[in-house]
Symmetry: C2
Subunit: 334 residues, 2 copies
């Protein structure tokens, strides 16, 4: 610690950097000035050792490239940075197998909180491995127009963000039906992923309520290429559809391109398409996608709020935040 060579004791330096402590103002100013000159910054590793706070937030994703995830990481990083935290990024293996190896690996870095944007890791698993870090969970509850379920029964509770999808899906189906859609297909995301199955459940409920029967199931995995191929199959091998609801926007792009460039069908005249997420690319003129928007800033602010509240009150009961969805109308329905 060079700063004290210039003036006085080390605790004074420590106090100079911690606002709430008591230190004579002029002394603090002097220390900060000298620190500035010497290009000194308190070492977070040492600080973490004694305080038990690393100011690191672990983020686990299967694929940073996916536009939705990259946009979420972007917003999250900005928000965390503003609160004095940093994003520690980890990637799961491509097969989505959330092996304990990655978690133990991550644990070594001692993050204060962990957010897993990966469908097959439950907070129970996270909590089991990371003893100190707080797991934050993104949850898609089953819901109706009346409200949503809180699955408090199945095991211990963890802090979670509830994403309410009923409103957006209801609006989307209404719009498609309004433009004459009768045979509605659902393009799924990754097999058994929470987001995809929740959307499917809600869609089934909404369709049944509106007398539209069951959706035609098309299995995808959130990627463009799979969506493209699955759509071609749906019309070449299967019986087609007059509207497709995709579990995410990138999938919707694959659907649109397959319809237009492979099957020579028109969107929205022949087939209507709706996506989910409202990513940056959705307003690009080639797609101009009508989609169910999850407000990213709102979602990320809620996540950060969860983390901060949990860290300031470690013993509080399970925390909860809720965000809504709504339809953004563009040009792929009518």
């Amino acid at each position: 610690m060079v700063a004290r060579s210039a003036n006085v004791s080390r605790v004074a330096v420590s106090r100079a950097f911690n606002p709430h402590t008591s230190l004579k103002p002029e002394k603090r100013a002097l220390i900060l000035k000298v620190a500035e000159e010497l290009n000194y910054t308190p070492d977070r590793a040492a600080r973490a050792l004694v305080s038990g706070r690393s100011h690191l937030v672990g983020v686990i994703v299967p694929d940073v490239c996916s536009p939705w995830e990259s946009q979420e990481i972007d917003a999250l990083t900005t928000a965390l940075q503003n609160e004095g935290f940093a994003t520690l990024l980890f990637k799961t293996r491509t097969d989505l197998s959330m092996d304990a190896t990655l978690l133990t690996y991550m644990k070594g870095f001692n993050p204060d909180a962990v957010i897993a944007f990966v469908e097959n890791v439950k907070p129970t698993i996270l909590a089991g491995v990371l003893d100190r870090a707080v797991p934050i969970y993104v949850h898609y509850p089953r819901e109706t127009e009346a409200g949503f379920d809180r699955p408090d029964a199945d095991g211990p509770l963890y802090d979670r963000l509830n994403v309410l999808q009923y409103a957006g899906i209801e609006q989307a189906v209404a719009l498609m039906q309004g433009y004459g859609a009768k045979r509605l297909a659902y393009l799924t995301g990754v097999y058994r992923s929470g987001a995809s199955t929740a959307r499917e459940d809600t869609l089934r409920k909404v369709m049944a309520d509106r007398g539209l029967g069951e959706p035609i199931m098309v299995v995808g995995d959130f990627t463009y290429d799979t969506a493209y191929a699955a759509t071609v199959d749906l019309f070449r091998v299967g019986d087609g559809a007059d509207a497709v609801f995709a579990a995410n926007d990138v999938g919707a792009f694959g659907v649109i391109d397959a319809l237009r460039h492979e099957l020579k069908l028109r969107v929205p005249e022949d087939v209507k398409v709706v996506g989910f997420d409202d990513i940056e690319q959705s307003h690009w003129k080639s797609y101009n996608l009508t989609t169910v928007k999850i407000d990213l800033d709102e979602r990320v602010r809620a996540l950060v709020r969860l983390i901060l509240r949990r860290l300031s009150k470690p013993s509080a009961g399970a925390l909860e935040e809720t965000v809504q969805t709504r339809l953004v109308v563009r040009g792929t329905v009518g």
Copy 2:
């Protein structure tokens, strides 16, 4: 440290986790087994404190959402993870002002190396603030078909990755000219960014050599919306062009959409378009973009190589790696 309650001294535990040390195999096995049961992992913060290695690599980007950057971060994170490092992500402010604040902030986390994917921060600045971390620089040297310049004269040298663009640009121009392009426009990236100006310089050289005169300059900033608007301007206010070379793929998408949906021109029949990067989205059927590819895996491997070599030999001379570019032909030229 709970592990030693189960058996013996703490140094034994330390050695059990460091393979190169000498410890009786059976003892090591026992310790690892007990550690496993107790869910114990060595604390990296404490380790960093004494060893001076945090195993953190700071990555600074202006915008994680940008497909090219998110793909680079993705590949980099995977590669670093395989080498026992973790990615620490930071975002510059939206105005790209690389204020010292962010650097000091980052310095507190003590990264072992820093890669700044942001055009206006030179390694000199990085090195000035981060005393311990190693700056890695992505450089786009001026080059001709004969080779490329090494600007060794201007100040001290830092480890760098040279991206050679001549080959790809030469192939792109040749292809466009082969299909009859005579009036070639260049859509720039962000003002004075290294990548964009290097591409412009090389393009000018190649065009001059082929008797194509000077490129028509169109100023962009690597984003879709700006590219779209600038292209409309070029044709409505300016005199148009019969080919556009964009500084990046996302910009090329904006050009294509403006041409097709706003100006009612055909690509490639009326106007040819070439991009730069070859991002995931470039093969999407709506664009099917012919573009100059930078091999991402190769590029990232080179970056990781630079970091590892530098950390294992801190006093070695400036390190250098080089990657090539090449044209990927799809459907936007002819």
